[in-house]
Symmetry: none
């Protein structure tokens, strides 16, 4: 697993630097490097919000130092018009592909984001090991710097999720079985039974039921069964 640092190259707007620090921390990244940045003042601090530590601990480095210290340097670039599709800027990888590539890297990885108005220049891009481009709309491909940092950090964060328990196969099968006996109990036509059970299996299969939901569904069936077994027939109905 690599150690990732986010490098902002000559950012022009301190608000973006603060926002970048914040979204980095949102996805678990804390190593921010600033190369010849604008002045970092109150606006940056305000926008960093609870990531003020990331902002204040940001390292100041030269690009030379970044290239010297990193095992792998990634350039981020905007989507390209055909006219600038030079070999220097090709091939490029989407953030999700970058994640795949970096998952095999062990060491220091620096991801460079360029100036708000101009990105990285050709010389900077040409020195990088990899190029990453966020797939954007052709109509308006130019992202705000902090939004671009956010997308890359989002993709690179291998954050565990899942705080609820999803029903396993056995639990799902037991539920289908219960529906099977229930359908029998309510005289669901034999010739439709298998298709209906298959449909239920598909629904439950794709919906990733939680254990709690499975137990509620059992409860509903049991309750209906009890009423079928115990309620007196209503008067006057056929």
């Amino acid at each position: 697993m690599p150690e990732v640092e986010i490098v902002l190259v000559e950012p022009l707007c301190e608000g973006n630097v603060g926002f970048a620090a914040r979204v980095m921390k949102n996805f678990g990244f804390t190593r921010l490097v600033l190369v010849d940045p604008c002045e970092i003042g109150d606006d940056a601090i305000a926008r960093s919000s609870h990531a003020r530590d990331v902002l204040e601990l940001a390292a100041r480095k030269s690009l030379e130092e970044v290239f010297a210290e990193s095992d792998l340097v990634v350039a981020t670039t905007g989507e390209l018009s055909k006219s600038v599709c030079t070999s220097m800027r090709m091939p490029y990888y989407a953030p999700s592909e970058l994640r795949e590539i970096l998952s095999n890297v062990d060491g220091q990885v620096s991801i460079l984001f360029g100036r708000e108005n101009w990105g990285l220049n050709n010389e900077e891009v040409s020195r990088c090991d990899l190029i990453c481009t966020i797939p954007t709309s052709e109509i308006y491909p130019i992202m705000n710097l902090s939004h671009a940092v956010g997308i890359v950090c989002y993709e690179l964060a291998h954050l565990p999720r899942g705080t609820y328990r999803v029903a396993g196969k056995t639990e799902r099968e037991a539920l289908i079985d219960h529906f099977g006996t229930f359908l029998e109990r309510i005289d669901h036509p034999d010739f439709k039974r298998q298709n209906t059970l298959l449909m239920l299996r598909r629904i439950f299969g794709r919906t990733a039921l939680t254990t709690r939901e499975v137990s509620t569904l059992h409860g509903i069936l049991r309750r209906a069964e009890w009423h079928i077994d115990h309620d007196m027939p209503r008067q006057g109905t056929p």
Copy 2:
């Protein structure tokens, strides 16, 4: 292929609204809806940059209108501390999972983003069909509004096209209503009723039921009702 609109519920800061418009357009989304927003002035326009059209064409709607007009409404929420893991806010889906689910939906999808300081309230969340949560760091999970919009738009940008007919909102509501009367008929405890219906709404919301499946589920309920009404009580059972 769903038509996706991004709904900002009572945004407090116009800069965030402008930034949200920009990042939407970066990923090809243009339908912005504002529910009772702050004043939208120069700061919003400046931050929208070349997405000024998205900002200026934003629809003003009430939440009632959003729920009435949409086939599927998605709530976005922050990561939860254990203390608020109520059934109302579970289960939730990552943006990538949301993409999978929406890929089968045909119709109007509204994705709700809450207030900067407070998100969506419980009542708003409970009315939604699906919950989407961006997996963030436990250390600092609170994202800037426009960054959250950016991540969701990034994930939804390349939706595959659906191929079969999915039940619309009216059909899903009718099914939920049927379950409501059914639960009443089987004396499902009052105090559990709303939670159970909410759970069913969530299951059906995320599973993108086809019209055929909806009709089969109605059939099962009707058949069970008939048996409850007509079967003689069994001997010897309590």
